[in-house]
Amino acid sequence: MKPDVEFARLDAMLDATLGALARRARADTDAEANLSFSTGGDPAEAEADVLWSLIERTREEQERREQPLSFDAMGAHEGQADGQADDGLLARAQRECSQLMGQVLGTLSHPIVVETGQGHARIHTRVGWTGDMDTHLAGGTTRAEIVAHAAAMEASLAASGRQLRLLTMLLVASSRIAAVIATPGAAIVALPIAYRCVRDLVEQWSDFHP
């Protein structure tokens, strides 16, 4: 399946969720004008609701850092239990996001190596991150081995392409969420929230692409 086709549904899901999040933010801003926001069972809006609660926690956290230390700032406020749960989600998302980015960037900057054949590899291909490709072919290699090698190559390149595509989605989502947060440093704090969003959507999407 072509990557663009493969990811079209995931792109649409992400777009719907981020659109719902933007509407959720507008509803919050226009609360005085009595605009309402209802999750109404729509998965995108339900996900946006979760993301919105994380954004609110992030904002509170940023405000707390700017204020002098106080009893209230230490978390002794109404809804503390929910807040702590959100803090846990954020911390986990920050940790996982950081790991994922390190992993993907590390993978991309190393060449892809594919070897096909028994014993000493009969076909060996090295693909640099820009697509430069170098193949060594031993004498006596059969057509069947070449076909198998081509299939293995395709699978490896597709896997690498998917990783980069997910990283792209993550950063695009992050920039849109940062616009919703709209505070200094939003680009940084939006990333773990975007990670959580993309991760959840990929899980849902995987049900359609096992």
């Binding site: 990557p3 911390a91 920050q94 940790r95 996001c97 950081s98 980015m101 390190g102 960037l105 991309l108 900057s109 000493h120 076909i123 291909t125 693909v127 991150w129 820009t130 697509g131 430069d132 490709m133 170098d134 193949t135 060594h136 072919l137 031993a138 004498g139 290699t141 057509r143 070449i146 090698h149 081509a150 190559m153 395709e154 390149l157 690498s160 392409g161 980069l164 595509r165 990283l167 792209t168 950063l171 695009v172 992050s174 920039s175 940062a178 200094p184 440093g185 680009a187 940084i188 704090v189 990333l191 773990p192």
Partner: protein, 110 residues
């Protein structure tokens, strides 16, 4: 600490994209044959170089037949052609993603 790590990861991503953009001027695909028994050096069988400005150079394997005509080694040629297609597809996907990445990353505070 996690925020610092994320900031660092974003900087690394920005540097990675910048480096990538600098490296994409030429796409080179090489296919070489290797005689495993004698421990000899690989011999270049086919090479394709595609430049960003559209220049395209290909060296394809061939042998001079008994009739005096050049014959292409189809097994090698097919493999090389497949590699060139894969490399072009992969490059296109990478460039598309990198260009998309440039926008959000450029908004990161330094």
């Amino acid at each position: 600490m996690a925020v610092t790590e994320i900031k660092e990861a974003l900087r690394t991503a920005a540097n990675t994209v910048s480096k990538y953009v600098g490296d994409v001027a030429v796409l080179q695909v090489e296919t070489q044959t290797l005689e495993t028994a004698g421990g000899k050096e690989p011999v270049l069988a086919a090479r394709t170089i595609i430049k960003l400005d559209g220049d395209n150079t290909s060296v394809v394997p061939g042998v001079l037949g008994d009739s005096g005509k050049w014959e292409i080694d189809t097994v090698l040629y097919d493999l090389h052609l497949q590699n060139v297609r894969s490399a072009i597809d992969y490059r296109a996907r990478m460039v598309e993603s990198m260009l998309t990445l440039l926008r959000p990353i450029s908004g990161v505070e330094r």
